[in-house]
Each structure stands twice: as C-alpha cells, then as structure tokens.
C-alpha cells in the first residue's frame, strides 16, 4: 500500500508569520442533531474530547471537535485512526439519523504562527479577528480571499486553517503573499506606529 500524501506535502514559508501545510489529519464530518444523545456520544466518545458549543473548538491532544453549523461537527483525529474512529462513531450512533463520513482527504490544513499571525489572516478574511471577538477555542467559517475556509486559534499566535484540498496551492500562495516581507500591518501585533 502506498503512503498517503497531503496536497502540498508539508510545504512551509517563513515571513511575517510562519506558514506551514501541516500534513494529513483525520477529519470526519458528522451531521446530526447536536442535541441528540447518540450524536453527542458518538462525537465525544470517539474523540475523547468535550462537546463544543456554537462556534467553538474543543481539543485534547491531537483530537478536536469543531462546531461547524447547528447540525454539523468536524471530528479531527490522527489520520491513521480515521477508520477506527469512524467505526466507533457508527456503532455509537446506532439507528440515530446522522451522517458520519470521512473527509480527511478532501481538506488541507495550514498553520499560521507568529506575533503577526492575526495581521496576516486579516488581509484575507472579512471575519472580525479582534482578540475581544475571536480568541483561542473559537472557530470561524468564512473565506480567505476567494475560497471558503475555517480557522481557529490554538493559542493567541497560532491559527489552524482548513480549506478544500484542490485549492491548497492557492491558499498557500495567498498566505505566503500576506506574510510577505515589508507588508507588516502592525494593527493587531501592536508594533510601534509608523513614525509620522
């Protein structure tokens, strides 16, 4: 069996922020009534992570549960564990009306880290990235320039971004351009205001 390869195979860039394609992750889309016991049990049981509230991410180690919509969660786990996790979820769901499907290969994950990470991201998304509105533990689905993306903060300087695999190169090029030399905005990173 061949080794699975992520879209950009861990490409990286060092600029105002560090941009990395962070390889393959197990990602399972779970659609269902998030208030239903079976659905909650399937999500938390398979991942070992607490149920996230609206627009939240809960994580534990490499596993995470991302709230994607009122009836959708994204279950993140190790890539090689996906089938196992999915089986467990299916058992746990039983006859409940829900859809759990492997989307690990459909997506690409990026990390953008550094003190300018918010500034870099704010060049591309109309989402409000003010620390008061968007902090670690929250997830936002929005767009990066012309593509849909979801992102959350692992800590105050580290974004995780997921987008569709087919546009991985576009997303990477966007992020690298936004993190390009000489383009620091200093809006969020509180760099000294440019002398007047």
């Amino acid at each position: 069996m061949s080794e699975p390869v992520s879209a950009l195979n861990h490409a990286g860039f060092d600029g105002l922020a560090k941009v990395t394609e962070c390889g393959l992750h197990g990602m399972i889309t779970l659609r269902g009534d998030l208030a239903a016991r079976a659905v909650k049990a399937a999500a938390t049981g398979a991942s070992g992570v607490k149920m996230p509230g609206p627009n939240e991410v809960q994580s534990k180690g490499d596993n995470a549960l991302c709230w994607m919509s009122p009836d959708e969660l994204l279950v993140i786990c190790d890539y090689k564990d996906v089938r196992q996790v999915l089986d467990k979820m299916h058992k746990s769901l039983g006859a409940a009306h829900a859809l759990a499907v492997d989307m690990s290969d459909a997506r690409t994950m990026f990390c953008v880290t550094g003190s300018s990470a918010r500034d870099v991201m704010a060049k591309l998304t109309p989402a409000d990235l003010s620390p008061a509105t968007f902090g670690p533990g929250q997830i936002r689905r929005s767009r990066l320039a012309q593509i849909p993306a979801a992102f959350w903060l692992e800590d105050d300087q580290s974004f995780r971004i997921i987008c569709f695999r087919s546009v991985a190169q576009y997303a990477f090029d966007l992020l690298c351009t936004a993190a390009g030399a000489g383009s620091d905005v200093g809006y969020f990173s509180a760099a000294p205001i440019r002398p007047t």
């Binding site: 390869v5 009836d71 290969d105 320039a145 576009y170 007047t196």
Partner: protein
C-alpha cells in the same frame, strides 16, 4: 518669483537634499516636501495645461483638492498618470512629467483652442458632433480620442503589489487634524476601540499653520502632546497616509493606505485597501477653501490663500515676493500676515466687504499692509505667470481703478466643509446662509442596520471654523459616538481654545459682482475642465436647471478632482443665473472614493498566481509533468489532451481516442461531483430532485439521472450509486458539484425541512480514475485485489474493495461506450493509483486521455453534455431523454413547468444527430436556416448545432443539434451557413453514431 526661504518649513528636513526631475529638468528639494512644494521652491509656476483650452496652469492648492497640478509619475512598470503634485511626497530621483500638451509644456499647439474658445462653448461636443451620423465613428471620435484625456494610460505591467486589510472596530475617525484627534481621544476615553485615518503623512492637520492657543499652549505644542497621549492609548490606532476613501452601508469604510509611494524602493505592497467595519464613523475631514471667480483667476501664480500659507509655513516656500490678496473673509488675512512676517511684500489686501474684517484685519494693518475694502480683482494679466492685477470696485462691472504689478495672487472665497464622506451613504446637507456653505445636517445622518445614524461630524467638516468651537465640538462628538454604541463615557473636560473673533464673510460668487461678459468668459469656475462663469450661465439660458444635468453638459465638477474647488462656486453661479436660492439648486451627488484610488488597490492581492483559485486534482502534477494542455472547467484545470513532441492537439486527441477504443486509456475524473445523501427520507428526496425514480435503486447498483430546476430546465446529470438502504452517492458534473450541493441544501432547508436527510459534499475526498477500453479489465486484474468480472460487477453496478493495495470503490459505468471502470480512492492516494495504472498498463498500451477525447467519444455515443446540449433553456424532453423521466412520480422539481404549454409544444427543437454530406466538421453553434424571414426581418432558423467534432473512430465529422421536428425528419438535409461564408449541408441522423447496440461497454 517663487523660492525657498531660510525660515519656516516645519515639515521639511533641510539637512538633506533630494534630487528629482520635472520634464527632464533636474531640481532639488528636501525630505518632507511634496512635489508641489518642491516645484514651487524651484520657481516652477507652470505645471500643466488645461483640458480643453490648453491654458497654462499652475499649482492652486496644497492638498487633495488640487485641480491643475496633475503629472505623470515614474516610468515603465511604475508609470502612473494624473498624480496630484500636492499629495505626492517627494523622494530621491522622482521623475515627473507634465500632461496634456504637445510638443512641450512651454509651447503647446493645443493652446490654439483658447483662441477658439468662443467656438467651444458649453455642450460643444453635444452640439457639434451629432451630424452626419457616420462621421462620429470615423472622424469625430478618433480626433476626440486623440485630444481628450489628461495623462496617458500606462503601457507596461504594474510592477507593484497591493493588498487588502479587513478591520472591525468600534469607531473610525476620518481625518487626523485637531478635530479628528480630539474626537478620537474622547471616544477612546469612553472605552471605544478607535481607528483614525489621515490621508497625509502628518497627523495634526492645518491647525499648526493657522495657529491659536489651546489649553494655554500654542496649538502645535498642544497637538504634539495630544499625539503622544493617543499613541500611548492601547485602544487607539492612527494610520497616516491612509485616506478614508468612502463610507458605505452598514458601517463599511474604505481606507486607502499609501505605503511606499513616498519610498518606492521599500519592500512590500504599494497600497493597502482597508475594508473596515465600524459601529460609528466620525468624519473630521476639514474644509476646503474656495477660489474667487475673477477674470484670469487660472493664471499660474494665482493660488488659494490657505495654500500659499501652507507652502510658506510647512515647506518654507514663498510663492510670491510681491503678493496681492483678494478675499471676502478674515481667514485670508492670516496668509497676508504670515507672508508679511516672512519678508514678502504684500501689496494689497482687496477685501470685497465694504467694512472689511475683524481683529485679523487690524493686525494686518498694524504690520503696514494696505487694505482696500469694497475692492475686487477686475482681471489678472500675464502669460505663463501672474504679472499684473487690475483692481476695481466689487460693486462694479469691472472698470479698472488701478493696475498693480505683482508676482502672485492669494485668493479666498470662504471655506466649504468637506461633506463628501458624510454624503457618501446618504447624509443630508444644510445650507448655512451666514457662512455661505453646505454643512452636514446632524438631524439627517446616514443610517445603519439598526435604523439609527452611524456617521457624525467634527470640526470644520461639521461647519465649525473657530478653534474654540472646533475643540469643544470635537470633544463632544467623540463622547456622543461612544455613547451611541453603548459606552458610558466618564467625565473629561473639553479643551478650551483662545478665540480670535472673525467678521462675517460676504458671499462673493463673481468678482466684481457685475463683471461684464468679457470678464465672465475669463473667470474660471472649474480649472480642470475649463468651465467658466459664462459656460454655466449659457447652460442656464439653454434650459439646464438640474445641477446634475448642468454638470454633464458643461463638465463642471467632473474628472479626477470631482469639483472639490468648483462645486459651490458653480452651483451658486447656476442658482444666480436661474434666479433661485442656492439650496434649491442643491449639490451634485458625492460618490466615493474621495480622491481616485489605484486600480491595483482595488484588485488587492488578486493577480498572477493568485488572481483566482485554480483547483487541482490529486493527479495534477503528473499531468503537468506530462505536458498536458489544459482546459478550464469552472476553477478546475483538466487535461484537454496530452500532446507528444510536435504533435498537434487534434492529432493527440485522435490518438487518445483510438487508443481507448482499441486498447485502454486513463482519465482523471476526480473533478466529478460526489455528494453523499443519507437519511430515512433520502430516496424520497432524490425522487424529487431527479426526473427519474431513484428510491427504487438497489444498493450496489447505479442509475443515470437528470436534474431540473423549478423552471423545468435541465441543470445537471450524473450517475447515482446506492451505497446502502439510507445512503446514496450522487455524481454531478465537474462544474456542478458546488451548485448542486447548494441546490440540495436549499430544498432541504427551506422547503422540506421536516425530511430526514443529510447531505455532504465528498467531491474532493476521492481521486477518481476512469480505466476505459477493451483491455481495461485486464489491466485492473493485473493490479489485483478485486473481482471485476462481468458476472460479479456487471454494467451499472459498483463494488468496494482494494486495488493495488488501495481502498477503492469501483463503478461500472461508461461515458465512452467502451468497457469502463471508474475507480474512486482517497485523494491522498490518487497519484499512487494513477502511476500504478500507468506502470502496469504499459504492456496493454495504456495512455492517459483528456477531456476532448472524452467529449468526442461521448458524442460518438450520442450522450449529451450539460453545457453543450443544454444552455439553461433546454428541457430533458428536448433531448429525447423521456426514458429518464418517471411517468409514475406525482412530482419532481421541474415537472409542473414541463407541463406548461410552450414546454409541451411539439414545435420545440429536439435532439438529433447531424452528418455533413461531405464528411467535414460543422461549425460550432451554427444555425440551420429555413424558408423566409421572421417578424424581425431575419432569416428563419429551424435548428442549431450543440456539439460538433471530428470523429477519428468514424473518420468524419459528427454533430448533435436541436432541430424543429428533428426526430421526424430523419434523412433530411439542412443548410448551415457558417461564419466563414460557406454553407454546410448536413443530414439529420440518429444521434448514436457508434455501437448503437451498446455491446462494447457490456462485456
């Protein structure tokens, strides 16, 4: 003459010199100069030619309102036309050229137009070029194109980069003058997050130039301390060189930040477009001084009084040594005083008011300046610069009382608040009779999402001009804005400014008031577009009453400056001509951006590789490495064909087709949409979405289906596989996956929300490879892992297993008529499977094939293609697909529409095959003509070509088309006139050209 003096110049760094060129001439300036101040320091009074008459023009203003000093900046890839010298910061080796003249600025042939000005009145173009009609295209338009426009369009690719920045904040303050800064402070003290945008490089505005005392300190020291304080506040961000360009609905503010215009060698983007969302916006955009309309007011050396003061105090440039000041208000006295104190000879202050001004006049008089009240400029004389001024009484027709030699004229017609940003999103104006200007009406602000006002004004933009009023009002404006967003401001005392009392202004729309027609024809309102008092009067006489119509007719207030100087004077002139009050004439519409912004900034980062997203399949790089020619399909790039060295595309396509028909080919079908539909009601749901019955499909089987919209038109097609009792996998077209996914969600969420169905778009989860051709099974058997025999996996069945060690789903479906397996594997292993197939297939002669081969082979089989046979007006019945439309179902999307009379009409064009009588290929999109003419006098048509190809299999042209009563007219020959002048003859045939029995795919 104009020169740099040894004193003043608060913004320049005299310790360093910069060199630059203007029209190739070397000049020197200092860091901190604008191009305008540096040109004036070099006594360059003539900077351009006017638009229509090519009159010599000089710098008239000191900021964004400048109409004349537009230059071409830079060369080659950094060339940019129409740049205002007054807002261009000087940098070393700057290259500027003046515009709108030939052969040179000094000697311009176009200046002949000035002599012909009586023949070029308002509306000249509209009156002259109407007839003869044919002349417009061939004679008038080419000549006008040649002579119109100001700067030249750039020819090279822009070498710079641009970007956006999205910011969400509580309060945006537009303008970093004293009002804006005080507003920002009091808003921030109230707890709000504040973003201040200042268009120039310097925060503080013009208060340091105008002087005054705030809280016992000189104004400039007060501002320095205020800036210090604001910089230390964590909730205040100030951006200089960042213009508030526009205010839009729901608190959207556009900021235009110029990052490297002043330092072109710096790394990084040139401009940044700020896309800001604010809860409240305060416009503290100041005011613009108005020119006075007197004859010769456009000569180089005639300048706004405030601009002359700016050049002196900010840049140490004295524009004239012997100056005449003409005014109708007190503020111009500040210029006279500053000039006098700096050593200039101020020959006269001509104050149009009979009683003159207040304390400032007193001070000027004490300095020994001669002040003539009730006087006006009758005419300014000179060629390329001011030489003499004829002085007359303001209440006269222009009879000269005396003539005085001078080298500069400072004029002030009063001040107009900059109401542009207030007005962009619907803020209304009030006419202030005392100050003779429009100012924002606080009772009618632009309203936001909650229906309440979200824009307020501060300082001069509010209509306050006395420093004491400005600081008090600005402080309060910041508190109020904070209150409006729910903050609870603490008590902070407003600053207090010492007052200088000013006398009332006298509205002066024409100087002298009774100027004769000779003078009115030389009194400019709009410098940039060469509109004079006489032109607006003519328009009024010709019946133009609406200010918007007058604007278009006379060109008053058009082009790059949008009438920043000319608006009020122009509409006052119109009002006077019409005999109506100014407020009833009203203003033209203020539209964003405030000053022109670069196209690059609007495009942002979207250029070159990231102009738009390109979607790549997991096998993309293999295609690239094997020289695929690409076909765009939506944002996807799919291999069109894989030409070998020196092989023409058509030959490559023919080779690929033959190889599929004779051996085995591989197609990257990863782009096909793959939607998973699951739930107890999934079957019922798909029965509504597809025209045929999907609920009866057995697990393990596939069925071809058609999807229509509620209008009945065919929107997508594809093969549906039933995965299990509750789950279906719906394949869509490559371009259709996202739309069809959205279509499903729409119906589930908004119509059948009680149905238990979930949909997920798994398109990109899988790489899908079609292995097609008589040797397909052999190839897959060699890789091993699954039983793919005809017995185990018949046509229209699917199975799950492993191929080459990779988990796979195999669909026995065919779009080519050959034995075909579509194999879906996880995307991360798509390339591995593809290369394994290529390796293992070598002995079977495997070749990749592209979309063109796919299209030709499907046409040979008579299969329709969404987007070829359909165009949004075609229903399945047109395409002979009645077999795929369930008769049993009561309802499906589109069923009712397909029962409408014209949908059910037997006269609809229907799908047929077309074969040229001589074997050539029919032109794409060609129409079949019939007898006679239709109601529009056009030739009657009776059909059209939807797909046409050369078939390498049949070695002839084949086509499909929609033809009136087509299926009943088999064998009939139709005429298709081509755009090449030839008429093609084609016979109506069955659309299935190849293997009509379907035996080849079913082995």
């Amino acid at each position: 003459m104009s020169k740099r003096i040894a004193t003043q110049g608060r913004l320049i760094d005299r310790s360093r010199a910069l060199t630059f060129t203007f029209n190739g001439r070397d000049m020197r300036g200092h860091p901190g100069d604008t191009l305008a101040s540096a040109l004036l320091a070099n006594d360059q009074m003539l900077v351009g030619r006017s638009f229509k008459y090519h009159r010599p023009r000089g710098i008239v203003a000191s900021g964004a309102e400048e109409p004349n000093a537009l230059v071409n900046l830079g060369t080659g890839p950094s060339f940019e036309p129409n740049q205002r010298a007054t807002t261009t910061e000087l940098f070393d080796r700057l290259k500027a050229r003046s515009q709108n003249h030939w052969p040179s600025l000094e000697f311009d042939i176009g200046a002949i137009n000035a002599r012909l000005s009586r023949l070029l009145p308002a509306g000249f173009y509209y009156k002259t070029f109407l007839r003869p009609r044919a002349f417009w295209k061939h004679v008038y338009e080419p000549i006008i194109r040649q002579s119109a426009g100001l700067g030249q369009a750039p020819k090279d690719r822009d070498c710079d980069t641009y970007e956006y920045f999205y910011a969400t904040t509580d309060i945006v303050v537009v303008g970093g003058g004293i009002a804006g800064l005080l507003t920002a402070r009091s808003a921030a003290q109230s707890g709000a997050q504040v973003l201040v945008l200042e268009q120039t490089a310097h925060l503080g505005g013009r208060t340091p130039v105008d002087g005054g005392t705030v809280d016992g300190q000189p104004a400039s020291a007060f501002i320095d301390a205020l800036l210090e304080e604001l910089r230390a506040m964590a909730n205040v961000t100030m951006r200089s060189r960042c213009m508030g360009a526009g205010i839009y609905d729901h608190g959207f503010v556009l900021g235009y930040e110029r990052l490297t215009d002043h330092d072109p060698d710096a790394a990084g983007p040139r401009h940044r477009l700020w896309r800001i969302r604010a809860k409240q916006v305060i416009t503290a955009t100041g005011a613009i001084e108005r020119p006075l309309a007197f004859a010769g007011n456009d000569l180089p050396g005639v300048m706004l009084a405030s601009a002359m003061r700016d050049y002196l105090i900010n840049y140490g440039v004295m524009v004239g040594q012997r100056v005449i000041v003409a005014t109708n208000n007190d503020d111009a006295y500040r210029t006279a005083i500053a000039l006098k104190e700096a050593g200039a000879d101020v020959l006269r202050i001509l104050d149009a008011r009979d009683s003159g001004g207040g304390p400032l006049m007193q001070k000027a008089r004490e300095l020994g300046i001669r002040i003539d009240c009730g006087r006006a400029i009758g005419k300014v004389r000179g060629g390329k610069r001011v030489k003499k001024v004829k002085i007359c009484a303001q209440n006269s027709s222009g009879g000269a009382l005396e003539e005085v030699s001078c080298d500069a004229v400072a004029m002030s017609g009063g001040w107009s608040p900059v109401v542009h940003l207030w007005s962009h999103c619907g803020g209304k104006l009030l006419w202030d009779d005392g100050a003779a200007h429009f100012r924002p009406d606080p009772a009618r602000p632009p309203t936001g999402a909650d229906g309440n006002g979200f824009v307020s004004t501060a300082g001069a933009a509010h209509g306050d001009f006395a420093l004491g009023d400005i600081v008090a009002q600005a402080h309060e404006a910041g508190r109020k804005a904070a209150q409006a967003i729910g903050m609870k401001p603490k008590k902070h005392d407003a600053p207090i400014a010492a007052e200088t009392r000013e006398a009332r202004l006298l509205p002066v729309w024409l100087m002298p008031a009774g100027a004769n027609i000779g003078l009115r024809s030389k009194a400019w309102l709009d410098y940039q577009n060469d509109v004079k008092v006489s032109d607006v009067e003519l328009a009024a006489r010709e019946g133009y009453e609406s200010v918007e119509h007058t604007k278009r007719y006379t060109t008053l207030g058009m082009a790059t400056d949008q009438g920043k100087l000319s608006n009020i004077n122009g509409l006052a002139t119109l009002a006077n001509s019409l005999g109506t009050p100014i407020p009833s004439v009203g203003t033209t519409t203020f539209r964003p951006p405030y000053t022109p912004i670069s196209m690059g900034a609007i495009a942002g980062e979207a250029r070159d590789a990231i102009f738009q997203p390109l979607r790549c399949t997991p096998i993309h790089h293999w295609h690239e490495a094997h020289d695929a020619a690409w076909e765009p399909v939506g944002h996807w790039r799919r291999p069109y064909t894989y030409p070998r060295a020196d092989e023409a595309h058509a030959d490559a396509v023919a080779r690929e087709i033959k190889n599929v028909r004779q051996a085995v080919g591989l197609l990257d079908a990863s782009t096909l949409g793959k939607l998973i539909v699951k739930g107890p009601d999934a079957g019922k749901f798909l029965d509504m979405l597809y025209t045929n019955m999907m609920s009866t499909l057995q697990p393990g089987r596939c069925r071809y289906g058609l999807m229509c919209n509620e209008n009945g038109f065919l929107i997508d097609d594809g093969v549906v596989a039933r995965l299990d009792e509750q789950s279906f996998l719906c394949h869509t077209t490559s371009g259709g996956a996202d739309q069809i996914h959205a279509h499903m969600e729409e119906w589930l969420q908004t119509e059948w929300w009680d149905w238990q169905v979930y949909v997920a778009n798994a398109t990109e989860q899988f790489a899908q490879i079609a292995v097609v051709g008589p040797k397909a099974r052999k190839l897959l058997e060699k890789l091993g892992g699954m039983d793919l025999s005809a017995e185990t996996l018949p046509l229209m069945a699917w199975a799950e297993g492993e191929i080459a060690g990779i988990r796979a789903r195999v669909f026995r479906i065919s779009f080519s008529g050959e034995l075909s397996f579509e194999i879906a594997v996880p995307a991360s292993q798509g390339l591995a499977l593809w290369t394994a197939l290529i390796e293992a297939g070598r002995e079977f002669g495997v070749m990749p094939y592209g979309t063109e081969a796919l299209h030709v082979m499907r046409a040979e089989k008579g299969f329709i293609m969404i987007g070829d046979e359909t165009d949004g007006t075609v229903i399945p019945q047109d395409l002979g697909l009645d077999w795929a439309i369930s008769k049993k179902k009561e309802d499906y999307l589109g069923k009712r529409a397909q029962q409408r009379t014209h949908m059910a009409s037997p006269d609809r064009w229907k799908l047929v095959g077309l074969e040229t009588t001589d074997g050539t290929v029919l032109p794409e999109g060609a129409y079949a003509v019939g007898e006679g003419l239709n109601a529009n006098g056009q030739r009657v048509t009776q059909g059209r070509v939807t797909s046409t190809y050369y078939s390498p299999t049949l070695e002839r042209g084949i086509a499909m088309g929609l033809v009136l009563h087509g299926p009943e007219r088999m064998g009939e020959v139709l005429e298709f006139p081509g755009t090449d002048g030839q008429v093609y003859h084609a016979k109506i045939v069955d659309p299935v050209f190849y293997d009509k029995e379907g035996t080849k795919q079913n082995v």
